[in-house]
Symmetry: C2
Subunit: 551 residues, 2 copies
């Protein structure tokens, strides 16, 4: 069947945006776009799910029920349990679904997958509740990141996959002139899927980081087992349940997508990843586990691991909007974003501005005041910071005084009026000298910001480059009014495959990557080997096979 | 600078052919297309090179001179020596060339690379002499494989690279509507090359297997070190010398491409491959070394290794043209093609034809007679067989009687009237039972053909599939008049990422893969991880990096 006009138009628009890299959003990011009653109904639905078995997945024959999610806002367990299955059951079901899914036409796959995104959008507010109360993101971020931004990233992967899968003709007559006669062959070109996919989720962005790989594998014909982080299951469970419903309604095997929930005390990730039939793995998480995943033989692997993101401050017309922008960037979701800046390189000689050189000490003080002002604000503070997802992050932040630098601003618990039990913590700011690389050369996930005092901007660039090359980086923010220095920063950072965001002020932050336009992670440095969504991200999931026949 | 109209038109035509997979050849395959006098002049040039230092590379500061090529046609050493360099010298020069080459615009790179192909075409006859007297290919195959077919494959990689590199806009203004205001960013998208490339050549197809990776790396901005097989240097040396001349004439650093010659007793391949600055490796050769190359950490690697190619004979309207076609396919260049069929699966119950079932014995006898007839023909025999490149291949063929099967046709030395000392050997045909997988589950490179007697076609398909999955396959030929069986063969073989050539008779053989249309190797089974030329083949050589600026 050809694609319906409605869904073809969605895919065409997405492909057009991907090719032009211009602004595009299929799913509006404003919560109000989804109806007045949606938030209230979602809250009811979320409350009803708590303490219950989550049955919406309709995965039959559960071998057990497990759940260990706790809200960083209330400190209470959600009490939702999910069905568990052995690795063999999961892989057998995936293999079975593969038999039919791989032969579904690209148009038919695209039709049902776009339909699933259209179904998911009606649950954005429920997914937002689930995201807030597992990741600790504030509601607005939960809504946008796990709702419209996730759907857009999924559509991006789906659309680019569609474009690549239909790039060559499915069949043709090939004729080679050979003097008076010619050789005529019928040729068929088939994009053959690699096999069972595994998507390994993380605890902070359980939907956003999982759906690109999920939809990239699905459009290319691979069934997928989604293995969420045990502390953040519900957001992606709602997504998987919707996809399964839409698949079933369209007459497909719902096991084209399965959720594989495990418990912290008995993780099944390695068992799944090492299974011979699992051919494609998408992973978001720690570098140590990511390196293990990348080293597995005979797998196609897409990783997003840890990195150390730098800020290079050289000069600015006006420092105030720069420091405001940066204070928000480091405070947003308490630095629990893979794109959050961590290391801020400032020259000891100060920063040139339109009103003269501002001394290093003045810059640092002004930045400290900006962070303290934002995070101490009764409303903006908790709304920006969200809550701390894990004990490990919270403890790391509380102990940041012992990292080895000079504490310029001590981290502090912050009150959230709406959720008195919420675990909210404002960033600490630590000053380190350029020579103390042992302090700043690792990712300090969470609300810890390091100010690194350098000799000059050249040294700042050199260190930011070294960090990206050796430890990975997803973003680099830079501030300079000098075109030559800007060009130098671009060239040096791109040589270690790190994108630069230059002179961002106002309502745009280095943390943000827009679907259809910005590549998220380049795949070229240790922060990850893959990119949302470049052509490789879809092409590596299938193999072009060309048959020839004499007719 | 934009591309010249002449060269833009060549790239546009190539991109058009790649996208449509229709017949296209920029470089005519007939030797006469290159002038009446060309063969004679080439022979003179080839004779003049023998016994001398090969200085055309103009690689300064040789640390030694080495050469060990011997003609399989005369048994004599060519006596040509090539300059040698330490790995450090080669990599330092490549790094230095990288500094400028990476910043050359895609159009400018394309211009000089197309110019190099246009320059190389004037040397096709010399390259053919060099290929014949190192690989043992007959002259016509030497000419076509190392000349026009190689240039076309190089152009294919270059053109697809050009298409991918220009796929996204280099710069744009991105505007996100945000209520009354909007966010405006200037974005730049850069395809950043990975780093120094290494192309490791083989002794049988020194040009054809090397130039796709060479041109794919060059167009994507990576400098390349070409490491040929010590026994087959001259053909690719002529190519590298021409590229260096064209680069120099255009004002570029000729060390964008270097030749790295070594000797059998002191190979430098591992030293080069393991060098930290070598980021991209293209390899053709044995599976054991290929597996080592694939396992090197932090490299992007493209391999073509060994495989076991199958023929499945189920049924045919007329057996005679089938067996004629197959006898040529197994004899061509004495089975020293990676695409040559090795295992011929024939059901014990015989083969259905329009004139009734032909018994297994009759089929085998007719095939044996067809091979003996072709290879014993005084002119067609040596012209088809060429000569045996290596001692190892010759000895394997001579000892094929001890492989474990029943010798149906013994291999035999064949006389070549033009070259009395030529090492020419006709294929031996060995019969094995389906249960004796240990005999037929490995590549027996060279003139050895196995007939495997199966229970029925289902078993033939099952075994061909297993061979491809476990040991790799580049091609599979099948003969059937039954549409259901054909569909079954397609589905089974494509599940192990092996292309099927169905019912080939007449002037088209399973060994042949046409540039711009047929993918050579799929990259999906152990025969290799890469494909000439799918999008991955170029995309993995560079990284998309997107910068953003507030203006």
């Amino acid at each position: 069947m050809p694609l319906s006009n409605e869904y073809r138009s969605i895919i065409d628009s997405a492909v057009g945006a991907i090719s032009s890299r211009q602004f595009f959003a299929q799913y509006p990011e404003h919560p109000k776009a989804y109806g007045e009653e949606a938030p209230g109904k979602a809250l009811e639905a979320f409350n009803a799910l708590q303490g219950e078995k989550y049955t919406a997945l309709a995965q039959d024959g559960a071998e057990g029920w497990i759940g260990e999610e706790t809200s960083p806002y209330t400190g209470k367990a959600l009490g939702i349990t999910y069905p568990t299955f052995s690795t063999e059951t999961l892989v057998n079901r995936a293999n079975n679904a593969f038999k039919t899914w791989k032969n579904v036409s690209v148009d038919d796959r695209a039709e049902v997958l776009v339909a699933s995104l259209e179904a998911i959008k009606h649950h954005f507010h429920l997914i937002a509740q689930a995201t807030q109360h597992t990741t600790g993101q504030a509601y607005m971020m939960s809504f946008q990141a796990s709702g419209p931004h996730s759907n857009d990233r999924a559509l991006e992967a789906l659309a680019l996959g569609y474009q690549e899968l239909t790039r060559f003709p499915g069949s043709l007559i090939w004729e080679k002139p050979m003097g008076p006669a010619s050789v005529v062959l019928h040729k068929q070109f088939k994009p053959v899927p690699k096999g069972v996919g595994l998507v390994i989720g993380c605890s902070t962005f359980p939907v956003w980081n999982s759906v690109p790989g999920l939809y990239a594998s699905l459009i290319t014909g691979n069934p997928v087992i989604v293995k969420p982080h045990p502390k953040s299951v519900l957001p992606i469970a709602v997504v998987v349940a919707e996809i399964r419903k839409v698949l079933t309604a369209a007459g497909y095997d719902p096991n084209v997508v399965q959720l594989a929930v495990d418990g912290s005390s008995k993780l099944i990730t390695k068992e799944l990843a090492e299974h011979a039939d699992v051919k494609v793995i998408d992973y978001t998480g720690s570098s140590s586990f990511g390196n293990y995943i990348e080293a597995l033989p005979n797998k196609v692997v897409f990783t997003e691991k840890a990195g150390v993101n730098s800020v290079i401050i050289d000069s600015a017309h006006d420092l105030k909007p720069v420091l405001q922008n940066l204070s928000f960037a480091v405070s947003l979701y308490s630095g629990q974003m893979c794109t959050a800046p961590q290391n801020i390189f400032i020259p000891a000689t100060g920063v040139k501005t339109a009103e003269g050189v501002v001394s290093y000490e003045e810059v640092v003080n002004a930045f400290k005041d900006a962070v303290a002002g934002l995070t101490g604000h009764p409303k903006a503070g908790p709304g920006t910071l969200g809550a701390i997802q894990s004990d490990a992050t919270y403890n790391r932040a509380k102990n940041s005084g012992s990292l080895g630098g000079k504490v310029l601003l001590a981290g502090v618990d912050v009150a959230n009026a709406e959720y008195p039990e919420a675990r909210v913590y404002a960033p600490s700011i630590i000053e380190v000298d350029a020579k103390d690389a042992s302090v700043y050369e690792k990712e300090l996930f969470g609300p810890i910001v390091l100010i690194i005092k350098t000799r000059d901007t050249n040294q700042s660039v050199e260190l930011a480059k070294r960090m990206a090359k050796e430890h990975g980086a997803i973003t680099c923010a830079a501030y300079t009014t000098d075109a030559d220095i800007a060009a130098h920063i671009f060239e040096e950072m791109e040589s270690v495959f790190t994108p630069v965001s230059l002179n961002l002020t106002g309502n745009i932050w280095v943390n943000q990557h827009a679907a259809f336009s910005d590549f998220h992670v380049t795949g070229g440095n240790p922060a990850g080997n893959a990119s949302f969504t470049n052509p490789e991200y879809v092409n590596k999931r299938f193999v072009w096979v060309g048959h020839r026949s004499v007719q």
